[in-house]
């Protein structure tokens, strides 16, 4: 079985070498910089689906593979990370999960095939300025008027929002029930009248996210995913399929460590004390790799641990930050030079990693929320007031 996976890995690696777009090496999930990169991402998304490297876990009638081995998904995610290649557009993967589990046959046939073909790029419209960790407090409102819903409100942290065709929206349809129960999910046309997308420049200096404003945006009622009030359950279901992220992150961390280690003789500021810290991080990164492997084996055995995901995410994001901080430190005086400066080491890759590392400890559940989840669901300690 493992030999079969090794063969698969070699095949995926060769495919990525030959076909993946070559974008500058940057940390995390970044937005395309121009129209050309957008077209490349559409082409690449389509090729990954066509090759069966993503979407193989979808139902067979929507292009999935019978008897799909889920370990292959981990292999693909790891190989993409190894090659510093972009993955399929994340909004597509998330929205597809919502449609597969809760969409009508009409919605499924309208979108799933087009997603596979790279003809539809989706973005996720969940977070709001006032609803971050407390996502269920979201206030964007969808009011039923005849056969339509009228949407008003604001979203933020929208990856790919500026070029997405469609959005996977959570909005409040009932303000008179407990907050988790009044949310519904929708498909929204990002080019509809009243949708304004404004790129948000982050501390990295790049604009990888957007703010999205809804002013009386009209959505046909048939665009609701699932039933009214089901939005929270739908969002959780689609997020629960995001498993391979940390595994890919481990590969990226191992590569970053190896890159630093290989050039250690050229790093005069990597003194004995810093070397000890670097080796401590190496051991911790390998322990994280074992943690992820153990969680993955539990998942395959049908006995996933309730805290496996939060533990992996928490340890990954904190080690990534620690390694990035150490990297910038041991570059010494040259550590201040960023992309665009002729003297920048590795085109400023380490400084970008250092700045972007702050996204990982916040996005997708802050480290504090992860610790809440671990202590409450894992250890049985009392829950925070959740309203």
């Amino acid at each position: 079985m493992s030999a079969e996976l090794d063969t698969f890995r070699a095949e995926v690696r060769a495919f990525i070498d030959e076909r993946a777009p070559r974008f500058p090496i940057r940390a995390g999930v970044r937005s395309p910089e121009d129209g050309e990169q957008q077209q490349e991402l559409r082409r690449w998304t389509a090729e990954l689906f066509a090759a069966g490297y993503v979407g193989a876990d979808w139902p067979v009638e929507h292009g999935g593979v019978a008897d799909h081995d889920p370990r292959r998904d981990d292999v693909v995610a790891e190989e993409l990370a190894r090659a510093y290649a972009p993955g399929p557009v994340s909004g597509n993967m998330l929205a597809a999960r919502a449609l597969i589990a809760y969409g009508t046959p009409e919605q499924q046939s309208a979108h799933l095939a087009r997603m596979r073909a790279g003809d539809e790029i989706w973005c996720q419209l969940f977070s709001e300025p006032g609803a971050g960790s407390d996502l269920a407090a979201l206030r964007t409102k969808a009011e039923r008027v005849g056969d339509d819903f009228i949407v008003n409100g604001q979203k933020v942290w929208t990856t790919n929002g500026h070029w997405a065709d469609l959005g996977y929206l959570l909005a409040r349809t009932d303000a008179d029930v407990p907050k988790h129960k009044g949310i519904s999910a929708f498909v929204v046309d990002m080019r509809a009248a009243g949708v304004t997308v404004r790129p948000l420049r982050e501390m990295t200096g790049t604009a990888d996210f957007n703010e999205v404003f809804f002013d009386d945006v009209r959505i046909p009622a048939t665009n609701m995913i699932g039933a009214p009030g089901q939005g929270w359950a739908i969002a959780n279901e689609s997020l629960s399929h995001e498993r391979s992220g940390v595994g890919a992150g481990v590969v990226a961390l191992q590569q970053s460590f190896a890159a630093l280690w290989q050039r250690r003789d050229a790093l005069p500021h990597l003194d004995a004390a810093a070397t000890e810290r670097l080796l401590e991080l190496h051991a911790a990164i390998e322990a994280l790799a074992a943690l992820v492997r153990l969680g993955s084996e539990r998942w395959q055995a049908g006995t996933p641990g309730i805290t496996d995901g939060p533990m992996g995410k928490l340890l990954y994001s904190e080690l990534n930050l620690a390694l990035a901080e150490l990297a910038v430190e041991v570059l010494g005086p040259d550590g201040i030079l960023v992309e665009g400066d002729g003297g920048a080491i590795d085109d400023g890759r380490w400084q970008d990693m250092y700045l972007y590392a702050r996204a990982f400890t916040i996005a997708g559940g802050t480290s504090e929320i992860m610790r809440n989840v671990i202590s409450e669901r894992g250890l049985g300690l009392p829950r925070e007031a959740v309203g």
């Binding site: 074992a290 202590s375 250890l379 049985g380």
Partner: protein
């Protein structure tokens, strides 16, 4: 090889837990016993469970199985030198009575071996910390000779052997210094197998790390139980986020350390010596300091109670800190990782 416990390993863990925890082991430890009357009896019990012969060829046991045992012994705070006995037997050499491993710490000068007459070996040197060293009848010692590394069985009654019980941080296990001054070993009692020595040293480092993880696992459970019953300001303290987050960090560290130990244990199934050494040093370099952090937080969350002698917490804290120093400190394992990374 999988990192999940097999059904057999899960039953083994259960059996060892109920055996090793019978009687109040930690309360006994708090009386600071000499353990002189405990070790042989404890090993007899371990033998009945088949733990000492686990690694014998006809038993089909693995280092991964022994790591499961080591974790339970750490969890129980057991004085029984089960790991040290099973590894001594793994040498293929025979030692009578209580026969335990007595490896020099890798940071310390090795025992030196010189050829005597008729294929005999003459050993001189010191092993600073030997678990059950004062209670043992025979020791498996590693020595450096001009022809390479060797393993030798030393009868503790032999001329030239001096054993000094040490007073250590650890009140759960007796530890002695063993000095060898021209001790003669017969030809049948030593062997020059580098590969076996490498396996035994790596396995010892693995099981010491597993021992610390077992103790840390128990500290986590005790701490979670304590913060769920201790009330201050009219609430159980486990409802305060500062306390919850400490507990979550403990749980994460224990889980990652467990995974690292399991991965290291699995590495013994292959013939790749460098991969095995790397996995073992990762486990030691991560788990030992990690468990020490868990131990420190356990005391902190027990508050004043955790500072008393009557609490079990410090007993396990002491064991974890002792594991930290045995079979290569984390610093030694980091240096080995540096060598292996090239």
């Amino acid at each position: 090889m999988t990192l999940l416990l097999t059904e057999e390993q899960a039953s083994l863990a259960d059996a060892v837990r109920s055996w090793a925890s019978s009687g109040d082991v930690l309360a006994h430890a708090r009386t600071e016993p000499s353990y002189d009357d405990d070790i042989a009896a404890a090993l007899a019990g371990a033998e009945q469970l088949g733990l000492l012969t686990l690694l014998d060829d006809d038993q089909g046991g693995t280092q991964a199985d022994l790591a499961v045992v080591a974790m339970e012994l750490g969890h129980a705070g057991s004085p029984a030198p089960v790991v040290e006995s099973a590894l001594a037997r793994r040498s293929g050499l025979a030692g009578g009575g209580v026969f335990v491993l007595a490896l020099t710490a890798p940071e310390q000068p090795p025992v030196l071996g010189k050829p005597g007459g008729d294929g005999e070996l003459v050993l001189t040197g010191r092993v600073e910390a030997v678990a059950s060293g004062a209670q043992a009848d025979a020791l498996l010692v590693a020595a450096r000779t001009d022809a390479g590394e060797v393993l030798a069985v030393v009868e503790t009654a032999a001329p030239g052997v001096t054993r000094t019980p040490r007073t250590t941080l650890d009140v759960t296990r007796p530890i002695a210094m063993v000095e060898l001054d021209g001790v003669t070993v017969t030809p049948a009692a030593w062997t020059g197998d580098d590969a076996v020595l490498a396996v035994i040293s790596d396995a010892y480092a693995l099981h010491v790390a597993a021992d610390a993880v077992g103790a840390a696992t128990r500290l986590l459970a005790q701490t979670v139980a304590y913060v769920q019953q201790r009330e201050q300001f009219g609430r159980i303290i486990g409802s305060f986020q500062a306390v919850k987050h400490h507990a979550a960090t403990m749980a994460l560290t224990v889980e990652a350390a467990t995974a690292a130990v399991r991965a290291a244990a699995a590495s013994f199934a292959t013939d790749d010596e460098d991969a095995r050494a790397h996995a073992v040093s990762v486990a030691a370099a991560y788990a030992k300091p990690g468990c020490a952090r868990v131990a420190g937080t356990a005391i902190q969350l027990h508050g004043g109670m955790g500072f008393t002698w009557e609490s079990d917490v410090h007993v396990l804290v002491r064991r974890i800190q002792t594991d930290h120093a045995l079979a290569g400190t984390p610093a030694w394992h980091r240096r080995r990782l540096a060598r292996l990374l090239g």
